[in-house]
C-alpha cells in the first residue's frame, strides 16, 4: 500500500484549497485523472503502477465526496469536528452515503485490480497483474467459457472476434498458432477492434446475451421484464446494469459520465442531476451502453425527473 496516502485528506489528494468552488474541484479532478493514468510519462521513475493505481483510487474517492454538495458538507463537518484537517480519509468516509455504493467508496475493500480502460491503447497489454482477463485470453477454445462471464471485470469474449478479424493462418504449427493467437486477442482490447467485433458478432451460446459492454447470462424472466417495461426509473436501470454484469466504473468510462452522476441517476436523486439537456444526453448514452431502447428510456425517465424536481429545474 502506498505509504504517504495516510494523512492526506481529500482536499490534499485533489490539491485544492478547502474553500475551492465546485468548478475548480472538477478541474482538479480531471487533471488528477490525467496525471495518474497508467501510461502518463510524468509518473515515470517516481511512482510504480501500483502506487499510481492507489493514487487514482484515492482521487476517485476524493471526487466522489468533494464533487457532491451534500457529501462535501458532511465531510467538512467531520473534518472540523475532528479538529485536524489531515486525517485518514477512509476513516471519515461520507457518513450519509448510500450503502449500495459503499464498497466503491472505500478503496481498501476493492479487489486488487482495476478495470482496464479500453479507450487507452496499450494500457492493458503490459499490465502484470490483471490476472482475471489474462486468464481468459489464454483459453484456447474459440468460445469463452461461461464462468468467465461471471466476472464483471473480464473483457468481453475476445476470441471469436479474432477469428473473424485476423487473416486466416492455415498450416501453422500449434505452438506458433497459439502464440499469435494470444497476441491478437490482446489487441482486441483496443477500441477499434472492439467496434469491429460488434459488427461481426459471432453466435454466442444460447444462454449468453451480449450488450455493448460485455456478455451476460440470459435470464428469461428479466429479459421479458425489460422488453415489456415502459417505466425506466433509476432503480430499474440499476437492476438492468447489474443483470448485464456492467460495473459502475466500466459504464462511467465507456459512457464518459461521472460516477457521481451515474449514482444520482440510479438512485433517482433528481436534485443532484445536471440540467435537463445534459440529463437527456446522459440517458441516451446509458441506454446505448446497456443495449436498451433509447426513446423509451429517455421519455420515461425524463417525465419522472420532471415530476420529481422543483420548478426551477424544469423547462
Amino acid at each position: 500500500m502506498f505509504g504517504s496516502k495516510d494523512g492526506m485528506n481529500y482536499y490534499e489528494v485533489l490539491e485544492v484549497p478547502h474553500d475551492a468552488p465546485q468548478h475548480e474541484i472538477h478541474k482538479a479532478y480531471q487533471r488528477a485523472k490525467a496525471t495518474y493514468a497508467q501510461d502518463n510519462p510524468a509518473l515515470y521513475s517516481m511512482f510504480t503502477r501500483e502506487e499510481a493505481r492507489d493514487l487514482m483510487k484515492l482521487v476517485d474517492e476524493a471526487y466522489a465526496v468533494l464533487g457532491n454538495h451534500g457529501l462535501r458538507r458532511n465531510y467538512d463537518e467531520t473534518l472540523l469536528k475532528a479538529g485536524l484537517r489531515n486525517m485518514n480519509p477512509v476513516a471519515v468516509a461520507a457518513p450519509s452515503h448510500d450503502s449500495r455504493y459503499a464498497p466503491e467508496m472505500q478503496h481498501d475493500s476493492l479487489p486488487d485490480f482495476v478495470v482496464p480502460d479500453p479507450s487507452i491503447p496499450g494500457s492493458f497489454d503490459e499490465a502484470p497483474d490483471y490476472s482475471a482477463p489474462v486468464q481468459t485470453l489464454h483459453v484456447p477454445s474459440p468460445i469463452p467459457p461461461p464462468n468467465a462471464v461471471a466476472n464483471p471485470y473480464s473483457q468481453p469474449a475476445p476470441k471469436p472476434a479474432v477469428q473473424v478479424a485476423a487473416p486466416p493462418a492455415p498450416a501453422m504449427d500449434p505452438l506458433h498458432a497459439s502464440a499469435t493467437g494470444v497476441r491478437e486477442s490482446i489487441l482486441v482490447t483496443n477500441s477499434e477492434f472492439t467496434v469491429r467485433k460488434r459488427e461481426t458478432a459471432t453466435p454466442l451460446p444460447a444462454d449468453t446475451g451480449r450488450c455493448p459492454l460485455g456478455t451476460y447470462k440470459i435470464d428469461l424472466a428479466m429479459e421479458q421484464d425489460i422488453a415489456t417495461a415502459t417505466e425506466f426509473d433509476g432503480l430499474f436501470l440499476q437492476k438492468i446494469r447489474l443483470y448485464k454484469q456492467v460495473s459502475l466504473e466500466k459504464l462511467s468510462v465507456s459512457s464518459r459520465i461521472g460516477k457521481t452522476y451515474l449514482i444520482a441517476l440510479e438512485s433517482n436523486d433528481f436534485k443532484n442531476l445536471p440540467a435537463t439537456v445534459f440529463l437527456r444526453g446522459f440517458l441516451v448514452q446509458m441506454a446505448k451502453q446497456l443495449g436498451l431502447d433509447e426513446t423509451k428510456v429517455v421519455t420515461s425517465y425524463m417525465s419522472l425527473a420532471k415530476a420529481g424536481l422543483p420548478s426551477k429545474y424544469g423547462p
Binding site: G3, S4, R31, A34, T35, P41, A42, Y44, S45, M46
Partner: protein
C-alpha cells in the same frame, strides 16, 4: 585616479548600494535538453526588459555558452577567478554586443576545472552574490554532481528544465531528488536528524519512508517540533518547472502532471513556469551562432520566453492567475 587608495571623502561613483543580486539557476539533470539555450534566452529577454544581467557558464569542464551566445571567448574566464588570478567575478565578466548583458565564460585551459574543491566552490558561490548586476543567471551542467547541486541550491530561482522524453523526465526527477536530499544534508546538523535522513536516502529502508513527503510526515508524527523546523527548511525549496521542446497538447499537460507528482512525492509546491515549443528556428539560429532572441525576435518562441521571464520576475502574479 587610483580607485584602490581609500579616501574618506570619496563617494561611491556607482551610487548607493544596489539591491541584492537575484540569482537564477537553470538545471535539469540530462544533457542536451536546452539548458544553455534557455539560460541565454532568458538573459537576453531580461535585457530586453531593461535589466542588466550577468550570465555565468557553470558547466565546468564542458562550457560552450559562448557558442550559443555567439560571442568571442573573453580574455578572462572563471578559471582566472578560481585560480586566484582575479579577485572578484566582476573582473572576469566581459560585456557582450547585447546591451546590458555581461558574460562570464567557463571556458578554460586548466583541464581540472570540473573538480573544484570545497573552498573554491564556497568562494565562487559567495562571489556570485557580489556581482554588480541585479540579475545573475547560472547555466548549470548536466548530471547531479555535488558542485552542480550546490550551485543550484544557492540560487533564488531554481529552474528545472525538462523535455517531454522519458529519459529527460527520469533525469529531471533524479536531479530534483538529489538536490532535495543535498539540501537536507546541508541542514541536517541544524535539525539533528542525520541518522534519519541517512536511512531515508536508502530507498529500501525499514521505516517505510519512500519519498521526502513520507519523511516529513514521519518526522512530524514522531517529533512535532522537529517536523515544524523541517518544514521551514524545505519551505524555500521551490522549484520552477520549465518544459522545453513541446510538440503536442499532451506535452503541455505534462507540466501540470509533474507539478502534481512533486506535490505528492516531495510534499513541496513546484511552479509550472511555462513551456517552450519545439521549433526549427532554434537549431537554425545555433548554426548561425546567433542567439535566437536576437535573430528571430518576433517568433512565437521568443514570446514564450518573455512570458516565462515575466513569471520569474514576479512569481506572485503567476500564483494569483493559476
Amino acid at each position: 585616479m587610483n580607485d584602490n587608495t581609500p579616501s574618506p571623502f570619496k563617494l561611491n561613483p556607482k551610487g548607493p548600494a544596489t539591491l541584492p543580486t537575484n540569482v537564477w539557476a537553470i538545471g535539469g539533470g540530462k544533457g542536451g535538453i536546452g539548458k544553455s539555450f534557455i539560460s541565454s534566452s532568458l538573459a537576453i529577454c531580461l535585457t530586453k526588459m531593461g535589466k542588466s544581467v550577468t550570465l555565468i557558464d557553470l558547466d565546468l569542464g564542458s562550457a560552450n555558452l559562448h557558442t550559443v551566445l555567439g560571442v568571442k571567448i573573453p580574455p578572462q574566464t572563471l578559471s582566472d577567478f578560481i585560480s586566484g588570478r582575479a579577485q572578484s567575478l566582476n573582473q572576469v565578466s566581459a560585456p557582450t554586443e547585447i546591451p546590458g548583458l555581461q558574460f562570464i565564460s567557463g571556458f578554460n585551459d586548466a583541464l581540472n576545472i570540473a573538480d573544484i574543491d570545497r573552498d573554491n566552490k564556497a568562494r565562487l558561490i559567495h562571489g556570485i552574490r557580489q556581482i554588480q548586476t541585479p540579475y545573475v543567471i547560472l547555466d548549470l551542467g548536466a548530471g547531479t554532481s555535488e558542485n552542480t547541486l550546490d550551485f543550484f541550491l544557492s540560487a533564488d530561482q531554481k529552474v528545472v528544465a525538462v523535455t517531454p522524453e522519458p529519459t529527460s523526465i527520469e533525469n529531471a526527477y533524479r536531479f530534483m531528488k538529489s538536490s532535495f536530499y543535498r539540501k537536507l544534508r546541508l541542514a541536517e546538523s541544524e535539525l539533528g536528524l542525520q541518522s534519519l535522513i541517512e536511512s531515508a536516502m536508502d530507498s529500501r529502508n525499514q521505516l517505510g519512508i519512500r519519498s521526502p513527503a513520507d519523511l516529513v510526515r514521519y518526522v512530524s508524527q514522531h517529533n512535532p517540533e522537529a517536523g515544524q523546523r523541517f518544514q521551514e527548511r524545505i519551505g524555500d525549496f521551490q522549484l520552477q518547472l520549465l518544459l522545453n521542446q513541446v510538440r503536442t497538447r499532451q506535452d503541455i499537460e505534462l507540466g501540470h502532471s509533474m507539478k502534481s507528482v512533486c506535490r505528492k512525492y516531495f510534499g513541496i509546491d513546484a511552479n509550472y513556469l511555462g513551456y517552450i515549443d519545439h521549433d526549427n528556428a532554434v537549431w537554425q539560429s545555433l548554426r548561425k551562432r546567433r542567439p535566437l532572441v536576437i535573430e528571430y525576435p518576433y517568433s512565437s518562441i521568443v514570446g514564450q520566453f518573455l512570458q516565462i521571464t515575466k513569471n520569474l520576475l514576479n512569481p506572485q502574479a503567476l500564483r494569483a492567475v493559476i
